[in-house]
Amino acid sequence: MPQKSFRAALNEALHQEMAADPRVILMGEDVTGGVGGDGAADAWGGAFGVSKGLLGRFGPGRVLDTPITESAFVGAAAGAALTGLRPVVEIMFVDFIGVCLDQVMNQAAKFRYMFGGRARTPMVLRATFGGGARSASQHSQALYPLFTHIPGLKVVVPSSPADAKGLLINAIRDDDPVVFLEHKMLYDETGEVPDKSYTVPFGEARVVREGGDATIVALGRMVQRAEAAAKVLAGEGIQASIIDPRTTAPLDADTIVEFAEETGRVVVADESSPRCGFAADVAALIAEEAFGALKAPILKVTPPHTPVPYAPVLEEAYLPSAERIADAVRRVVRA
């Protein structure tokens, strides 16, 4: 099976869905990659290279370069979705949601409910997230808990190239607003990705690894780090399962609870802030549904409750590392 990067997998998903459905359009800052910059259309395929080639193939009528006004173009996307288009709208860094949250939280997320089920909002809001790129605190947050908290939104956080493609295709075909968050440190990761078009459904966790001693629940870039931790632990005789929920809304509670019950020992690795975060949500779920099976306290491995630091040493210390995940697993196993 062909090896592709996370970036190429997303690009292929956009190409295939735009070719398959003329209602799919793309909009965002610099998605035409270079127009108005150095003068060459699609010179770099968008800020992170994900929309490369789309302008040339589908034209400026479907690949819309927007002004730097998220409040306007995210609102426009929500409206376009109501009228029957299937917009994929990109905000370069999820941190910029600050200026357009009303369009997402109070408009797109509410249309179906407030119009008595007679409105559909098939909009995908793509954005990069996460630390590690030395982008400082206004360009590095992991804000999926913010969106997960809002009923009416679906929230996707892919961890592998194959999942990125299938989840994005599923997002574009979904009739509800979907927030699709891409960790900027994963774009160059490669993996097996089928050439054909396919979907990965929402609300179904991926069992990344099976081991009977402990369960690590991890999301996005933390899956990679959990895998690195599991390898080290295997050398010590500790076999850990890794569950990647892939979507935080809907959440595959069944699989998380099933593995929590099987192993009785759980670590949640999460890059979002610890207060009211994803790890806290999963820990609460397990405490409610699988308390009787637990043999140790649930441990969360998260950043501290601070802004993401800019200084490289501090940023690395801030992000949950494979070592910290492995250490938490050792602690629950020995508890």
Binding site: K196, T199, P201, V207
Partner: protein
Amino acid sequence: MRVQAVTMPKWGMTMTEGKVGAWLKAVGDPVAPGDELLEVETEKIANVVEAQGSGILRRILVQPGQTAAVGAPIALLADADATEAELDAVASEAAVAEGAAGALRESRVDARGLSLNVVSAGSGEGAPLVLLHGWASDASAWMFVQEALAEGRAVHALDLPSHGASEVGGDASIEALADSIETALAKLAPGRLHLAGHSLGGRVALRLAARLGDRVASLALIAPAGLGAVNRGFLDGFLLADRRKPMKEALSLLVADPSAVSSDMVERSLAAKRMDGATQALRALADDALAAPEAGVEADLAAAPAPLLLWGAEDRVIPPAPGATMIEGAGHMPHMERAAEVAARLKAHLEAHP
């Protein structure tokens, strides 16, 4: 052969190395074909390597916990009186051959407008062997036997239309599948060839063998459709399964030992169903090709060379037909569950019909 190297197998396109789990035989133990020799783990699967030859396990070259590249020698089987010098010679020869062995290559072949994926191993003067997998499976189903059969010949495992990495499409009848594969064979194996098929692929192989007449050097059928009623419960279970648990249940009907259903198999089966159009294509095959596969079987059997007929003794998908050679301890997938025994029987059949 006085000394024979046991090499790290290649289970699928992406396997580059394997880790030795545990040795199930000790140095000095006598070994017969089909004996379980050792456990090997990859990133995706763990399985037992069975002995292909017989002799004494004289040397273990890779210890538990260590990894070896695909094709690398991991142990030596030899006669009791083979000298240490003979062992050394074979060990170093095998190490040199390592790079060449274990290469699986992927290519595309056109079949009446559908692009089909082909996984090939080996080369040589021998008539090529073409492997056709079963319904909802793909070429990787042959991964435990393909290499062993590739001595002196090319072995091509096709992904059937709408399966694996082949394009989705085409009509869902046995006749249409045979048409597609026959077109592909014009490029892939234009002269004499051996055919082997499993389940749905077995019925297609039989149909092709009847059509191709003298071009077919030999035919091997593993639990073929058409010689027994297909368990509709399995087909429906697979078609309806949209989550891990029901898929695991559906797949457990395929094997004698349900613990052999790994989470990787479950994920791969779900992923295969989620290719655009794949589930509809599988349903169409279930309702057409697999609805009455026995139609025309008598005539095809009369026109085709006498097949080697293998069947898992515990097959719960298609009950074993009278006259089949039974593979004990295997369900519907003996070429996965009892790979070494199936490989040895297939190999003997190929060699008996050059």
